[in-house]
């Protein structure tokens, strides 16, 4: 068996750290804690954690600055903790290299899921060319998507969008991120195009497009493809 993955928690709230420690250790992770941005930077450098959970609201430093400093040399996933109503901060953090986010208060199950997705993406190495989500499969090599073994008629843009989201399944992608990847830099800001394609894609891949289960909206931030 492998050594347990180490996780560094940078948060000034003792209670949150305590809760995270209990939850995560009982799920087989090894935990390091830091109460300030400064301690967090030192711990990140000395402990080589497999993943960092970073609270954006730190007492001694701007969480965003801490994120940028860590990101200068740290390659592994960083998960942002934030309060609600700060979509702008979350988007900035994601653009600055954070892998995913969670808003306080969060549910433990969701936290664990995000951690797993992030770790898998980081360690998974090459992704197989066929992705399967229940009765839905995507053949990346042949540009084919199947639902209940029926081939879906997708335009090439639709397929690119679907492939991008599916390859990053479980992880949030910001609107701008997606626009940049699929349509290129010139389309950054044209969220309406993205919404049109998301709506069309949903009609084709979801059982009930009004209640999507695969292509999930993250309010004000972007989309996430369900694992």
């Amino acid at each position: 068996m492998n050594l347990p993955d180490t996780i560094l928690i940078i948060d000034d709230e003792v209670q949150i750290r305590r809760l995270l420690e209990i939850t995560l250790s009982s799920n087989g992770f090894k935990i390091f804690e830091a109460g300030t941005g400064k301690d967090g930077l030192i711990a990140a450098a000395t402990q080589h954690p497999a993943l960092i959970i970073l609270d954006l609201g730190l007492p001694d430093a701007d969480g965003m600055e801490v994120l940028k400093k860590i990101r200068e040399w740290y390659q592994k996933p960083i998960l942002i903790l934030s309060v609600k109503n700060s979509e702008d901060d979350i988007i900035i953090a994601l653009d600055n290299g954070a892998n995913d986010f969670l808003t306080k208060p969060f549910r433990t199950g969701e936290l664990l899921a995000r951690i797993r997705v992030a770790l898998r993406a980081a360690t998974g190495g090459d992704i197989s060319s066929i992705l399967t989500f229940g009765n839905f499969t995507i053949d990346l090599a042949n540009h084919i998507a199947r639902k209940n073994d029926c081939i879906l008629k997708l335009t090439s843009t639709e397929f690119s969008l679907l492939a991008l989201l599916a390859k990053n399944s479980g992880r949030v992608l910001t609107h701008q991120n997606i626009l940049k990847e699929i349509w290129g830099f010139g389309y950054v800001g044209q969220t309406q195009i993205l919404r049109v394609f998301v709506a069309q894609l949903r009609k084709k891949i979801e059982d009930d497009p009004a209640k999507p289960t695969l292509l999930i909206t993250e309010s004000g931030i972007g989309y996430r493809f369900h694992e």
């Binding site: 109503n85 709506a199 497009p209 209640k211």
Partner: protein
């Protein structure tokens, strides 16, 4: 039974109490009073002060003149002396008492010599007694010295006795209101001896002085005057004492004097005389000026202003009455004011007309005054000189053009009449000329009319009355006609121009009334201090042709600069200190006043009913006449009133806001503490139970569920509070972005899936629903609150409907339930903060709907609610939105 006559008049008692009260806060004034220089006033003052000082009093010398007298100088040495202030006046420098230094030093007692002294130009006050009044106002006691010849009311008599005109005079009021007066008396012989010994002046000056002023006769007369004044005062004090202590006895006379004043120099004498009389009679005194259609010329107006100033100095109340009938005006006023004695000066004989009227005036006054006594004071010597000057004055004030017009008109008429003479006869010509003269009177002044009348009489005589071309008149009836012609022409001319003068006066008054009306009207619609300032300044410019600047007080009750846009009207630091003085003392100051006249502007206080609001500065070249000044004061009192109302309104508003926020705070506290406590109690109870008791698996699960639900409730509350505070702080600015309405509704329903389980949910969105541009997060919260609300009140398994559609520029979302709906009375209140419908179920803060409203309004949208026909409520959100111009093809 009480004898009414012996009871003190309550008004008088009140007045004496008020005087007493005012006096106690002020410093006490003691005057060392003497008949003339050299009796030892300063010496006695210093001695008295020395005695006080040895008792430990804090005494300083503000200003003492030793006149190089050794004994006096020796006495001065024992005191702290406040250094004098040096004023540079042209080439010489003058030292004056340093008023501010004295006030800053704040001793118990200050010694100030020569109360009647006139200050050097550039000082704050024109007169030293004004300085002393300010010192007294600051609660500092003052010892001072005065000679009898300086008393305003005695200056005439002194001039008569000694032949020296006294320029430095002191208002009687100051003297009368002094707390203590000590008379320094010497016999004339003793004084003369002191003079001879060189104790008063240096020997060479002494001789000169003895020759001119210090003659035994003079000294005796002055001494008598000084002693009588003090005796009168003692008498009056006794009266006052008896009144205060309610001692029965000879009460104050109950006499009320009225002196009728005109615009002549004689009236000044009349005022002084009346003052003396009232003093000895123990009567009160008012002065009255009757404004008639007669227009005083410049000199007379000046004299009138002087008379008014004098009466103010003498402490006489001055009243203006406008009435063409002087007698009626005086008598009416006297009756209204319960006057017992009317004092008039003997009217001067100005011309034929006044000679005729003179007897009439006096007779009528005596006839109408009934039981009021009338005193008539003799005329003055000077009137003869003024007589000559007078006669010509009113006639030739009209301008040359009017004379020319009059002459030309008469000549033209004559020419026409000469042509028609043969047909109409010479007698008719007189009527034509008479008509022309009368008609002219409507357009031109008295002088030209007199000329036209004379001219036409002569012309008629010369050209028309037979024999023609001579001034000779044959027939006696023609002579009679000529005389009558002349008199009629004269009378109609004079009367008409008098009517015109009266009309002009009325017009001026009308203009003023109209100006005031306009001002009041404009002010009544003005809101906010700035607007009032603008209106005030514009109207002052319009009606007075004056530039003005308004300085208002700050909240800390100090004067501050306001209204920056003032063009070239710059107020210097010096001017600002004048303004502050005006504000603090609520008395006008600056240019053309007695206080700080060296300033560039005249400052008037803006006095409200309850407070001083500030100061108005005007740049005035010509002094206001009495009438103008009154009008001006009425004018600015309107402005002050408005400022006061504005100020009070602001205060009330602030108080209201404070009160509101206090109320809000309380409601918040009540509501929140309850809402917080319930879930916290649940969490604590359940977790505590989990810690101390070993529960079976399902109970444990139930308890943890409770904890989870309670936390969710707490979270919702916090979410609402945060949103509320975002709304309150006004920091909400929607981040509009394209949004798929399906996505939005779905998101809300997902997060409310537990709450929505017991309901039949229907979502209605048309097939061709376009994307809309809204703030996803905010609108999500709005829908969340509305749908959550519905789940809390509607009974289970009823229908819950969410409908969204686009209508002509608007996104419309409706949330409909089959709950109880809202009581019609309260339906308009449900969006109010913390408002909860009466009898609604426990839980909830009354925030959800007001947040929804706030967020929708941040989108510039509206949210409405109505009760549905078959029960339940229907919320409708309507917000303007863009939609994509063209559909994007994939």
């Amino acid at each position: 039974m009480d004898n009414d006559d012996n009871r003190p008049d309550p008004d008088e008692l009140l007045a004496s109490l008020k005087l007493e009260e005012e006096k106690s806060k002020r410093g006490k004034l003691k005057i060392f009073f003497g008949m003339c220089a050299g009796v030892g006033k300063t010496y006695t003052m210093l001695q008295t002060a020395q005695a006080e000082k040895s008792k430990g009093c804090d005494i300083v010398i503000g200003y003492v003149e030793t006149h190089n007298r050794k004994e006096t100088a020796d006495l001065v040495n024992g005191f702290e002396v406040i250094p004098r202030k040096v004023y540079q006046y042209k080439t010489t420098s003058v030292t004056e008492m340093d008023l501010d230094a004295i006030i800053a030093r704040k001793p118990l007692l200050v010694l100030v010599d020569e109360l009647a002294h006139t200050n050097a130009p550039g000082s704050r006050h024109a007169k030293r007694y004004q300085d002393v009044l300010e010192i007294l106002d600051n609660g500092i006691n003052v010892y001072t010295t005065v000679n009898v010849q300086h008393l305003e009311s005695r200056s005439d008599t002194v001039a008569q006795i000694t032949g020296i005109i006294v320029r430095e005079t002191l208002p009687d009021e100051i003297f009368e209101n002094a707390d203590e007066i000590e008379v320094i008396d010497l016999t004339p012989d003793e004084l003369l001896q002191r003079l001879a010994e060189g104790k008063v002046y240096a020997p060479e000056r002494s001789k000169e002085a003895v020759g001119s002023f210090f003659r035994k006769g003079n000294i005796t007369a002055l001494r008598e005057m000084a002693l009588r004044i003090v005796a009168d005062r003692v008498d009056k004090q006794l009266h006052e004492y008896m009144q205060r202590k309610r001692i029965k006895g000879p009460w104050k006379s109950g006499l009320h004097l009225l002196v009728a004043v005109s615009h002549t120099q004689q009236s000044a004498k009349l005022l002084r005389w009346a003052k003396n009389l009232s003093y000895t009679m123990g009567a009160d005194l008012q002065a009255v000026y009757v404004e008639t259609s007669y227009k005083p010329d410049v000199k007379e107006s000046e004299q009138l202003n002087k008379n008014i100033a004098l009466s103010r100095q003498l402490g006489i109340k001055f009243r203006f009455i406008t009435n063409n009938d002087m007698v009626k005006a005086i008598v009416d006023f006297a009756q209204k004011e319960n006057i017992t004695h009317i004092i008039i000066g003997k009217p001067r004989v100005r011309n034929l007309l006044t000679l005729l009227r003179l007897g009439n005036f006096v007779n009528r006054l005596i006839r109408y005054s009934g039981n009021i006594d009338v005193y008539i004071l003799g005329s003055d010597i000077q009137s003869k000189d003024r007589y000559k000057e007078k006669v010509s004055l009113p006639s030739f004030t009209s301008n040359i053009r009017q004379y020319l017009v009059a002459a030309l008109t008469v000549i033209l008429t004559t020419l026409i009449c000469l042509l028609l003479k043969r047909f109409i006869g010479y007698q008719v010509v007189s009527y034509v000329l008479l008509f022309v003269v009368s008609a002219l009177a409507f357009f031109i002044g008295t002088g030209p009319i007199l000329m036209a009348a004379t001219m036409s009489a002569l012309i008629w005589d010369f050209f028309f009355i037979p024999p023609p071309y001579t001034l000779h008149v044959d027939k006696p009836e023609d002579m009679l006609m000529l005389i009558m012609f002349f008199i009629i022409a004269l009378l109609s001319g004079v009367l008409t121009s008098r009517i015109r003068r009266q009309e002009k006066k009325i017009r001026v008054r009308e203009e003023r009334t109209n100006a005031l009306y306009q001002l009041t009207r404009e002010l009544s619609t003005a809101t906010g201090i700035e607007e009032v300032i603008t209106i005030a300044k514009n109207d002052i410019k319009k009606y007075f042709n004056l530039e003005s600047r308004i300085l208002l007080k700050s909240d800390s009750n100090e004067l501050e600069y306001t209204s920056k846009k003032n063009g070239n009207f710059t107020i210097s630091k010096n001017d600002m200190s004048v303004a502050s003085w005006t504000f603090q003392h609520s008395t006008k100051a600056g240019k053309h006043t007695d206080t700080l006249p060296s300033s560039n502007y005249t400052f008037y206080p803006l006095k409200g009913n309850q407070m001083n609001l500030g100061v108005i500065a005007i740049q005035q070249e010509i002094v206001f006449t009495q009438g103008e000044e009154q009008f001006w004061e009425t004018f600015i009192s309107q402005i002050s009133g408005k400022f006061e109302r504005e100020y009070l309104r602001n205060m009330a508003k602030q108080a209201f806001l404070l009160n509101e926020s206090d109320k809000l705070y309380k409601t918040l506290f009540n509501s929140i503490s309850h809402e917080l406590r319930i879930p916290v109690a649940t969490i604590m109870g359940a977790s505590d139970s989990l810690i101390i008791t070993e529960h079976p698996q399902e109970i444990r699960k139930e308890l943890t569920n409770e904890i989870f639900n309670a936390s969710k409730r707490l979270n919702r509350l916090i979410e609402n509070l945060l949103n509320m505070s975002r709304l309150e702080s006004g920091r909400i600015s929607p981040r509009l972005d394209w949004c798929d309405i399906h996505d939005l509704i779905n998101k809300v329903i997902e997060s409310l899936q537990d709450e929505l389980k017991p309901f039949k949910l229907q979502i209605v969105i048309p097939e061709n629903m376009p994307f809309v541009k809204i703030d996803f997060g905010l609108m999500e919260q709005v829908l969340y609150n509305l749908i959550y609300n519905a789940t809390q009140y509607a009974s289970t398994s009823t229908n819950l409907r969410v409908k969204a559609f686009y209508d002509n520029g608007f996104l419309i979302i409706q949330v409909m339930d089959r709950g109880p709906g809202f009581p019609p009375k309260e339906i308009s209140l449900i969006f109010n903060k913390f408002y909860r419908v009466e009898g609604s179920k426990a839980g909830g803060t009354g925030l959800g709907l007001s947040i929804a409203k706030g967020f929708v309004e941040a989108h510039k949208g509206t949210i409405t609610v109505e009760n549905r026909q078959n029960g339940g409520a229907k919320f409708t959100i309507k917000t303007p939105t863009e939609i994509p111009e063209v559909a994007i093809k994939s």
